[in-house]
Amino acid sequence: LARCAVQPRHRPSRHNVEASDPLPQADDANYLADELPQLTHLSLLGGVQGTLFGGRLDLTSNSLQVIDITKASKMLTFDSLDCPALREIRCRDFSFYGNGLMPAPPRAGLQDGWGLGWWHSRYRDDLTEDDLNLPCAFAKVMRSGRSGSLVELPEQCAVIWEVDEHRGQAGLGSSAVWATPTTTVADFLSRVDSGQLYGVAAFPRFPETAV
């Protein structure tokens, strides 16, 4: 850590580049979003135990439309998103293996965290009528399981939390839940309750090559 701490953020690191050709950003994903002017779909892999565990994405792209981190590390989240064309963020569900963004409590003082967050039926009585009419806000996930600072999203951008497939198979969860910055808290809660399917056909996943 001491060795790493003295390194500048923009060092070339372990990439195969000449010392005279430093990376503009140290973070690979941020670097690629910056370097690829036509990139519309970015899907990060690596599994829950991947090296991006707890990492922060700081993406700037005019072309990026879809970010999928459902197969990336747990607790991978966003520092900021400057992607005006963004229309979809796919992340893991609200479990402790979650990543991406989480719905922020409508006001301070409400129960926070995964699994039994403010949206859980146990805590619904704490919500006022005003809370229910507020639009959803999105916060970065934190290691503590509580939501971090808010992340601004384009109005059309849907955040989709996908239920872990093993939980789905075990009957512990149903389908994906989604919300946009214009979704009201009341609508979001009804989707949580019904496990409403998101329009997968409207936003196709990464294409499978025909066998």
Partner: protein, 283 residues
């Protein structure tokens, strides 16, 4: 039932033509046969000729009238048909037509799928994948899509493919790199691998084979997967690059593929600010 064995693969290839008796069936399409010169061996059910049965050519003609029809077509017509098929269908089609003369131009292959985990009968058989890759390279085949499953050491094959094939219109690539040293195309190519020394990274006959492939790779061809993709694939729009044993190794080359629209990849490096003043990159 007395049979004459045929279509043996790998280490059982030397048993082709030997007489045997079918003893008992096993699960999964296998049968135990007793060899006439002693011993027994597991053999693929049906990969034999019954003694006294009609000659194979006559039998095939009778049971596969479609194949006979295909054989009556001219080479140009065969090529036109093959151009419309995906790779597994092309392989089935070739099995039926048995007309490799039509492939001389090598132009009918727009796809290269060298995959693992497909059921028997689909895709290019593992034992033929390396030869197929070299065939495509030798013919400078014009590729539109590529799907390759390989081991760490098989990158040479991909380098040769991309170097030699016409990849100006290659738009889709899906590449999966196993953590293992050799992928299925090397493991099943007929070389004997000393598995006791593989983990020691000592030289194996498989390395000799790969070195032979590597001798055809030019010096200025990039060494990494992303490097060679950036070098030879100017129209690549969709890339899925799955590293099962790690993360993408040459991200700057990936950033050089400016035509990319869709990208699926393992990325490793991330820098985490733990306090406003201190950065602790986990690299």
């Amino acid at each position: 039932m007395a049979v004459v064995l045929e279509r043996g693969r790998g280490q059982k290839r030397h048993l082709d033509g030997k007489r045997a008796h079918v003893t008992r069936g096993l699960a999964g399409g296998w049968t135990v046969v007793s060899l006439e010169d002693g011993g027994s061996v597991k053999w693929r059910t049906g990969h034999w000729q019954e003694e006294g049965a009609e000659p194979p050519a006559a039998k095939k003609t009778a049971s596969e009238p479609a194949a006979a029809l295909i054989l009556s077509l001219a080479d140009d017509q065969l090529r036109d048909i093959a151009r419309q098929l995906d790779t597994p269908s092309v392989c089935s089609y070739l099995c039926a037509s048995q007309r490799f003369a039509a492939l001389e131009a090598g132009s009918c292959f727009g796809e290269c799928h060298l995959r693992d985990g497909l059921p028997s009968g689909y895709g290019v058989a593992k034992c033929k994948q390396l030869a197929f890759a070299r065939f495509l390279a030798a013919k400078h085949a014009k590729l539109h899509s590529l799907h390759v499953d390989m081991g760490r050491g098989d990158v040479t094959v991909l380098r040769l493919l991309l170097q030699e094939c016409d990849t100006r219109e290659l738009t889709t690539a899906q590449i999966r790199v196993e953590g293992a040293r050799y992928g299925q195309m090397t493991r099943c190519s007929g070389v004997v691998i000393d598995w006791s020394t593989v983990h020691l990274d000592q030289s194996n006959p498989a390395d000799t084979l790969l070195a032979e492939v590597g001798s055809e790779v030019k010096v200025d061809t990039k060494a990494t997967i992303t490097g060679v993709l950036a070098q030879f694939c100017p129209a690549l729009r969709t890339l899925s690059l799955i590293y099962q044993g790690g993360d993408a190794e040459d991200v700057p080359s990936l950033g050089a593929i400016k035509s990319l629209h869709r990208l699926e990849v393992n990325l490793g490096e991330v820098c985490r600010p733990t306090s406003p003043q201190t950065l602790t990159p986990q690299c």
